[in-house]
């Protein structure tokens, strides 16, 4: 559904040193620098797949989404979405996609949602019967009732986002771009939006690209993630694989009786793995995945253990390390 080949975007940015003199100088002569937003991205997204696009602020996620939705032209490279080149902006292409940006409203501020949907019906030429069914289904899924008849500006942020989702999906798009759809929402609404997206994916099977800074969005919605660092894709694969490849260790956490026969001996613990925490009565060790059974057995044998847990490291921490270029093996 989405095929991207060596897509690049370079923005020309005017560089101005601070101060009045520099401002005057820039009136006559300007220094332009090339800011590489996306550098040679290549990937594919299939029907029914939700791909999480992850990266720090300014990594190039939104630029990539904007190129794939046809908003901006790339500097080089190719992309094909549903058989169309997005930036040619053919109507046949635009009728089949949807874009939801958590930080930008698409609804008309002074009008009730119902009026906005009516206008969108006209824009997308949705047949009346399909429109009626689609609206009823989406509002039921998002539990929207009377709010549809209230001006958008009088709704809460959460209600507005639900309206945005209805507005974006009324025409049953085959490709959906979600740029930080849960930003600023409370936990309950975030959960409702996630549940809705999963249900929508189950019933409609569109290809979805999601950008988010909330790891919970990624963990709940995406089986596959693409990590971008400074415009470059540094990881493209399953969420499980990222843990296997970039977090090749587990954390062993144990509580021991203070009257334990053997005191917690730092030197012997360090021989087993990296000591993260070592207090009287509690211990946390980072151990290579393949040594976990051996180390756990050793700890159980040596100490009087009250409780032992073996945990995967936080996925957010692992991804953060990849984004910062600190994880082993990244390009």
């Amino acid at each position: 559904m989405i095929r991207v080949q060596n897509l690049r975007k370079i923005f020309k940015v005017h560089r101005k040193p601070p101060g009045f003199a520099a401002s005057v100088k820039s009136l006559f002569r300007r220094d332009w620098i090339d800011k590489v937003a996306v550098t040679g991205s290549t990937f594919e997204v299939n029907e029914g797949e939700i791909v999480g696009l992850i990266g720090a602020n300014g990594a190039g996620k939104t630029t990539l989404v904007k190129m794939l939705s046809g908003i901006i032209h790339p500097t080089a490279g190719e992309a094909e979405v549903l058989g169309h080149v997005p930036w040619k902006r053919e109507d046949a292409f635009r009728r089949q996609i949807a874009l939801i940006m958590g930080q930008k409203a698409q609804m008309w501020w002074d009008l009730p949602g119902a009026d906005c949907f009516e206008l969108l019906r006209e824009i997308y030429q949705i047949p009346p019967e399909q429109y009626r069914k689609s609206l009823a289904k989406l509002s039921e899924m998002l539990q929207i009732g009377d709010e549809m008849n209230i001006q958008i500006r009088r709704l809460s942020l959460g209600e507005r986002m639900k309206m945005e989702l209805i507005a974006a999906l009324l025409h049953s798009p085959k490709v959906v771009y979600l740029d930080e759809p849960t930003i600023g929402l409370d936990i309950t609404t975030q959960r409702a939006v996630r549940d809705f997206l999963l249900e929508y994916r189950r019933t409609n099977a569109p290809a979805m690209i999601l950008t988010s800074h909330y790891m919970e969005d990624i963990e709940r919605l995406c089986e596959r993630i693409i990590i971008i660092r400074e415009g470059e894709i540094v990881y493209d694969g399953s969420l499980k694989r990222v843990m296997r490849e970039y977090a090749p260790y587990k954390q062993l956490r144990l509580n021991v009786h203070r009257s334990s026969t053997a005191p917690l001996d730092l030197a012997s613990l360090e021989a087993m793995g990296q000591v993260i925490e070592c207090d009287p009565g509690s211990l946390c060790l980072r151990v290579d995945r393949d040594k976990v059974p051996e180390v756990a057995a050793e700890l159980l044998r040596k100490y009087s253990v009250i409780d032992l847990s073996i945990e995967d490291p936080e996925i957010g921490d692992t991804i953060e390390r990849i984004m910062a270029g600190k994880a082993d093996g990244i390009r």
Partner: protein, 262 residues
């Protein structure tokens, strides 16, 4: 075409409900525009106390010319003005995104989505002034003259919008166009005067490069002197070419649209 008409009807419906939300603004705009009309009429009335002819036109003719200009201004204020005001803001803030992804002409959408319902009353007032000035005209004006005048008047309002767009579109590159818009409104003062007051070369420029005289001066001349096929062809031809050029310029601007960082 029918699809766009239906879409425009939706724009009208929404604009009316939106305008009626803000009552003060609704009445304030009507009063302000009426004052503008009065100033225009009084200006020429005082001028004709010192002369009988201006650019070959007497006071009765100039009244029709000025009223025609007021109608064009009212059409512009009602149909295009709000939209023109928004375009640079939307481009600069990166808010054009949602207009670009919709399966509808972004030029159509952004030029017509906001119908200033509160200026619509002014359009009726200006049309009333035009009817009055035509009815009080001492000589008989032929039916075909009148029909062509009204047709070219509407064409003039469209041309006025097209010309303004040429000054709006550079915002894709310059990111601010306040200077250009000020220049446009200063330059359009030229169309508020009879064409024959200008020297021949200025007139040629104002009929080709920056064709403001085609907005109301030439339609008025056709009303008084009869429909000249060559002149009508020229007015419509230049309008069509200006529109096509503007549309190409708009598409070029969209290619350079860089949106905004999130």
């Amino acid at each position: 075409m029918i699809r766009y008409l239906r879409l425009y009807l939706q724009f009208l419906k929404f604009s009316f409900s939106r305008s009626l939300e803000y009552r003060m603004d609704f009445w304030f705009r009507i009063v302000m525009d009426c004052m503008f009309y009065l100033v225009q009429l009084v200006f020429f009335t005082i001028l004709y106390q010192h002369t009988d002819l201006l650019g070959g036109w007497n006071y009765d003719q100039i009244l029709i010319f000025v009223s025609g200009f007021l109608v064009i201004d009212a059409i512009h204020m009602t149909v295009f003005s709000n939209n023109m005001w928004w375009i640079p803001i939307l481009v600069n803030k990166g808010d054009l995104d949602y207009y670009v992804v919709r399966p509808v002409s972004s030029l159509f959408f952004l030029s017509l989505r906001d119908f200033a319902a509160n200026s619509f009353l002014n359009l009726l007032i200006a049309s009333g002034i035009l009817c009055w000035s035509i009815l009080r005209y001492p000589e008989e004006l032929g039916t075909s003259n009148l029909i062509w005048f009204l047709f070219l008047l509407i064409n003039g309002a469209f041309l006025h919008y097209v010309l303004q767009m040429y000054f709006q579109i550079p915002v894709f590159w310059t990111h601010t166009n306040r200077g250009l818009i000020t220049a446009f409104f200063s330059a359009t003062k030229l169309m508020e005067r009879p064409d024959k007051i200008y020297p021949i070369w200025t007139r040629r420029i104002l009929m080709t490069v920056f064709p403001t005289l085609l907005v109301i001066a030439l339609p008025s001349r056709i009303l008084f002197e009869g429909p000249d096929p060559w002149l009508i062809f020229w007015v419509l031809g230049v309008t069509a070419c200006s529109f096509l050029g503007m549309r190409a310029f708009w598409n070029l601007g969209l290619r350079h649209y860089s949106s905004a960082s999130s």
